[in-house]
């Protein structure tokens, strides 16, 4: 009887938007900082329908953990500000609580396949490095020394040498130029950039933090 009701439930359809499948959970949950193998055992005992629908407090907890992992990776991709030196080494600082550094590194590797990418994780105080072949390494050293070490044996690449100037001011100018005061929409702005994002290293003292020379928290 129990099985038949589960089979009939609409939540079982393939392609449902809500929740995560078993496979996704098994794949991504170990990335959470508070993961324990015991959780996976428990997950396997719960029907997928309940998991997807946050049917029990445990399922709710699993969904929350999954959400934390995916949003952290997504935000790191969006808001990490990077620099590139003339030897094709792209570097930046991230603050990743969960184990998603590899997915962030891979994202940048796809964009800059001929570059070495170094991301310093402020949380673990380690630097993640991905080379041209896509091999990932985690080094227990500060970003500066890793970048120097990696750059040493690489030749100067002319088109990276071309863009060795400060871009911060350029971005600030471009950013300010795009604002249409007539379309001012404070609530939309607040919704688009949650406070959590400002804790990310790339966003500290960034221009996006301000709205007409006021800090966003003044509006919240």
């Amino acid at each position: 009887m129990k099985n038949s009701t589960i089979k009939k439930d609409p939540l079982e359809i393939i392609g449902r938007a809500k929740g995560h499948s078993y496979r996704e959970i098994i794949d991504k949950l170990p990335r959470h900082c508070k993961f324990s193998p015991y959780l996976i055992d428990q997950v396997k005992n719960i029907p997928e329908v309940i998991l997807r629908n946050s049917g029990t407090p445990f399922a709710k907890k699993i969904n929350r953990m999954m959400r934390e992992v995916t949003t952290e990776a997504y935000r790191a991709k969006q808001f990490t500000r990077t620099e590139i030196n003339n030897r094709g080494v792209l570097f930046g600082v991230v603050l990743l609580k969960h184990k998603v550094l590899d997915s962030v590194l891979n994202y940048f590797h796809e964009r800059w396949p001929q570059c070495i990418i170094c991301l310093y994780n402020e949380y673990s105080c380690k630097t993640g490095v991905i080379n041209e072949k896509g091999t990932i390494q985690e080094i227990d050293a500060p970003l500066k020394s890793v970048v120097e070490k990696v750059s040493k044996n690489r030749p100067v690449i002319p088109y990276f040498d071309d863009i060795q100037f400060s871009g911060k001011e350029i971005f600030e100018t471009l950013y300010k130029s795009q604002f249409i005061s007539e379309r001012e929409n404070k609530s939309y702005f607040k919704r688009m950039i949650p406070d959590k994002c400002f804790e990310l290293p790339g966003m500290r003292h960034g221009v996006e933090k301000r709205f007409r020379n006021k800090r966003i928290n003044e509006f919240l």
Partner: protein, 442 residues
């Protein structure tokens, strides 16, 4: 000599009313690339929708959006650069370098290049193309490029622009010749705009046919050799034959933009009619609307600004035409005086009208098109309902519908779930009279 910063400040401000979506490229690995996947490419278009920065009005700023030059022979009444006293231009090298710097900082996702018409449309377009060529071939940038075509540009330049960009757009600005003449009298609606839109369609179709034929004719081994040769020849005229990276199509198609409310008496129906024509005749991918905002110093400075809600309603209606495949005559039925859209969601207005005649919808029996007409049910949830029904599932609870993605708050007034309709105030009014007409209850 003005600095790059000054140019960005002025030209960025001049382009802020141009609208573009964030990296809307559908370029994927689905199509074979004649030139192969080189390791030298920089950038991707795979992560569409990633927004790196938001402007204070809440819009995502994911593209490097500035004019190439604000020098312009046209004297459009609504235009920002009309009033701008500082006339500046980028050089191709400056433009490409600045963009690459911003891309390396991970603050922008692609390029949106537009311009005033300095001298002639062809001269300016050639310079703009030079900047894009530098990006593609010097800096090896393979990310998203949105190229804005200038009115009256030659066909050979359009061809080149297609081969270098992901998306091309020509601003229509107004729905008809007369309305355009009212706000931009120097532009020729038929020749400068409509003819160019038709050319874009023709070039694209011809381009696709030719490339697909080449791909089909080549065997696997021959294709690899061909790729190698083409990579070598790429910097010489090789890319002109096909897309710059060898992909067979211009992925993101062509778009257009309208200034809403600038021309006197231009109605929403006029605009919708023009968009509908665009979808049918010139393979328009989508249309953008920009509410008219009066700018000091321009001839239309005293004119009232168009409400942003009007722009929003036009987007909603455009969505109905494009995604839900409503017909223009359906939308015509809900228009109010002056052929404008009524206040509120057009889909709700349409549903009120439609279900008045057709009765409430039973999700266990309704057709796909009927389901699609219910507010709160989109193409995905309608497909899910049909899919579930084919597996002999019956929708008996509200939760069943909620679980397939239906927005019950909007959908309930039009649904008959397990034989029951949502209780509304009307039910109490007609409680003594059970024979109250169903349409009134809606």
């Amino acid at each position: 000599m003005p600095s790059v910063l000054e140019k960005i400040r002025v030209l960025g401000e001049n382009s802020k009313y141009d609208i573009c979506a964030s990296t809307a490229s559908s370029r994927t690995d689905k199509y074979p690339k004649l030139f192969g996947d080189s390791k030298n490419w920089i950038g991707t278009t795979a992560s569409a929708g990633i927004c790196h920065s938001y402007t204070p009005d809440g819009r995502c700023m994911s593209l490097f959006k500035t004019l190439y030059t604000n020098k312009c022979i046209y004297n459009c009444k609504y235009c920002f650069s009309h009033n701008c006293k500082k006339k500046l231009s980028f050089t191709p090298e400056e433009y490409a370098r600045t963009f690459m710097k911003l891309y390396s900082m991970n603050v922008v996702e692609g390029v949106f290049i537009s311009s005033g018409v300095c001298g002639s449309a062809d001269d300016t377009t050639e310079e703009m193309l030079e900047a894009i060529k530098l990006l593609r071939f010097k800096y090896n940038f393979q990310g998203y490029v949105h190229f804005k075509c200038l009115p009256g540009v030659s066909q050979y330049l359009l061809k080149e622009a297609i081969s270098l960009s992901d998306r091309i757009s020509i601003n229509t600005e107004a729905s008809t010749k007369d309305y355009l003449a009212e706000i931009a009298e120097q532009k020729d609606f038929k020749n400068d705009i409509i003819m160019r839109q038709r050319w874009l369609k023709e070039i694209r179709i011809k381009h696709n046919d030719e490339t697909l034929k080449v791909i089909k004719d080549l065997k696997q081994d021959a294709q690899l050799k061909y790729q190698e040769k083409m990579i070598k020849d790429r910097r010489n005229n090789g890319y002109k034959k096909f897309r710059w990276d060898g992909a067979p199509i211009l992925n993101s198609g062509q778009t257009t933009q309208f200034v809403v409310g600038a021309a006197e008496n231009e109605s929403d129906y006029d605009l919708l009619k023009r968009i509908d024509w665009g979808y049918k005749e010139v393979d328009l991918r989508r249309a953008y609307f920009s509410s008219f905002i009066p700018i000091e110093g321009t001839p239309l400075a005293c004119k009232q600004a168009a409400p942003l809600a009007r722009e929003h309603r036009l987007y909603q209606s455009d969505w109905l035409l494009r995604i839900y495949h409503y017909k223009l005559k359906d939308l015509k039925e809900i228009l109010i005086e002056d052929d404008n859209l009524p206040i509120g969601d057009p889909k709700i207005h349409l549903a009120r009208l439609y279900f008045k005649d057709h009765g409430l919808v039973d999700p266990n029996q309704a057709s796909y098109s009927d389901l699609l007409r219910v507010p709160g049910i989109g193409p995905i949830s309608a497909k899910r309902i049909i899919n579930l029904r084919s597996k002999k599932f019956k929708f008996r609870r509200r939760q069943d519908l909620k679980s397939v993605g239906v927005v019950l708050k909007r959908a309930e007034p039009y649904l008959l779930i397990n034989g029951k309709n949502q209780t509304t105030l009307q039910n109490f009014i007609y409680q003594d009279n059970n024979s109250a007409p169903q349409e009134e209850m809606i």
